[in-house]
């Protein structure tokens, strides 16, 4: 084989672990829904509207906010949400 026919892997050579998502709960009755504002413009307006819709249906919500959209969420915040809610609505974009 010609030596130029051997390449080296430019990737991190890690293999990702694929985890299946939690199954959605059959009903939101009795659930507390986390509403996460990731810090983008007008994310608060989206969350306001969603919060109102949930309230109209008698579903409890708790609001959370990332300090800034430019960075990943702090671990403490993710742990807090995971502890306090089983369902999360994220205002991803503006």
């Amino acid at each position: 084989m010609h030596p130029s026919q051997r390449l080296r892997d430019p990737t991190a050579e890690t293999s990702s672990t694929r985890r299946s998502r939690l199954a959605p709960p059959p009903s939101l009755t009795g659930q507390s829904v986390a509403l996460l504002d990731i810090g983008k413009s007008r994310g608060n307006e989206f969350i306001d509207r969603i919060e109102k819709r949930f309230a109209e249906r008698g579903i409890a919500t708790r609001r959370y906010k990332k300090p800034t959209n430019t960075r990943v969420a702090p671990t403490e915040l993710l742990q807090q949400i995971a502890t306090e809610a089983k369902v999360v609505v994220i205002a991803l974009s503006d």
């Binding site: 084989m1 010609h2 030596p3 130029s4 026919q5 051997r6 390449l7 080296r8 892997d9 430019p10 990737t11 991190a12 050579e13 890690t14 990702s16 810090g39 413009s41 300090p67 800034t68 959209n69 430019t70 960075r71 990943v72 974009s93």
Partner: protein
């Protein structure tokens, strides 16, 4: 070398093999063979197994060897390695927010300005067509960073890169500043790098908005005119929201130079010229919903933060055209995401 070897068949096309494995940004890459990687590693005295940092979004460790492999693929020469390594280190500074820059729906990507003697040694272009095609160093250095983000970090367009439109600068935009006039303080020195040292400055932005002014003859006229062009960054009514690079061409710079305006004066005068009455900028003003909050109606509002406009010199001698590179909208969070300068280790 410790990276996984990949044996190709005698009739395989190595460039196509790289495409097939998803290692390309869409343009052909130089196949990373052992001979090429070893030559690239000779461009640095750092050990191949040294970890440069954790590359977002997967926060995967990146060794000098992986940098060399991706630099080969980008088309770099070994003598570019110190610049490439400085760029990676700057991109990994937390305040550069590389992860967020990659994820954004906005146009922005890393834009690199190189200052200092290394730009002459490796033949970077700061003159004619400095922001265009045709120079190997300009064309490949930032491409190496972007390939590392893709291949080592796992940052793929359509994956975690959610750009609505993106732009050609996301392949890799890099240029050198014209430092031929000692009267002008180069960008790196203005940002704290010692004279005589080489440095990179990374900015979160896009290329590019042309600016034309063929009639201004005084620095005051040109300042007012440039301010009009700069107001278009992001949106004319968005203020204290983003940042920008202004690339002054030699003919425009000459107007300031002949009047004795140095960098500090140009920056100061432009900052003042880039203020507008809040009543013209607030939401709804001029029949345009986009704008700043109504609480600013009675203020004079600056377009950029005082440190938000980076001015550099580049370009060919003829043409009263300068260039504006708009910054990322995340610049509104003044203390969260900023341009980063880093001295090049040689």
């Amino acid at each position: 070398m410790t990276s996984r070897p990949i044996e190709l068949g005698d009739y395989d096309d190595p460039i196509e093999a790289c495409y097939a494995r998803g290692w390309s940004d869409g343009l052909p890459v130089v196949p990373p063979t052992d001979e090429r990687i070893l030559r690239m590693l000779a461009g640095t005295s750092r050990k191949p197994d040294e970890v440069v940092g954790l590359i977002p979004p997967n926060l995967a460790p990146c060794t000098i060897e992986k940098v060399a492999i991706n630099a080969v693929m980008a088309g770099c020469k070994p003598e570019y390695m110190p610049v490439v390594l400085a760029i990676i280190e700057a991109a990994l500074e937390p305040k550069f927010t590389m992860h967020g820059l990659l994820c954004t729906t906005y146009f922005s990507g890393p834009i690199v300005i190189v200052n200092g003697p290394i730009t002459r040694r490796i033949g970077m272009n700061a003159g004619l067509n400095a922001l265009g095609q045709g120079n190997r160093a300009n064309s490949t250095i930032t491409r190496a960073l972007n390939l590392i983000i893709r291949n080592v970090g796992g940052g793929l367009p359509g994956g975690i890169d959610r750009a609505t439109l993106g732009g050609p600068h996301k392949v890799g935009l890099c240029f050198a500043e014209d430092e031929s006039d000692p009267f002008w303080t180069p960008l790196a020195q203005a940002r704290g790098i010692a004279p005589g040292k080489s440095a990179v400055t990374l900015f979160q932005g896009e290329a590019l908005q042309g600016f034309t002014d063929q009639r201004s003859r005084t620095p005051e006229e040109l300042t007012r005119s440039l301010a009009m062009g700069l107001f278009a960054v992001n949106h004319p009514k968005m203020c204290e929201f983003g940042n920008a690079i202004l690339v002054l061409s030699p003919e425009h710079y000459g107007i300031f130079r002949r009047a004795g305006w140095d960098r500090a004066r140009v920056e100061r005068e432009l900052f003042e010229a880039l203020k507008r009455p809040g009543k013209d900028l607030v939401i709804g003003a001029g029949g345009v919903p986009e704008g700043i909050g109504p609480e600013r109606a009675n203020d004079m509002v600056s377009k950029f933060w005082p440190e938000g406009l980076l001015i550099v010199r580049a370009g060919g001698e003829a043409g009263m055209f300068s260039a504006i590179m708009a910054g990322w909208l995340a610049g509104r969070a003044r203390d969260q995401t900023v341009a980063v300068s880093k001295q090049i280790r040689e």
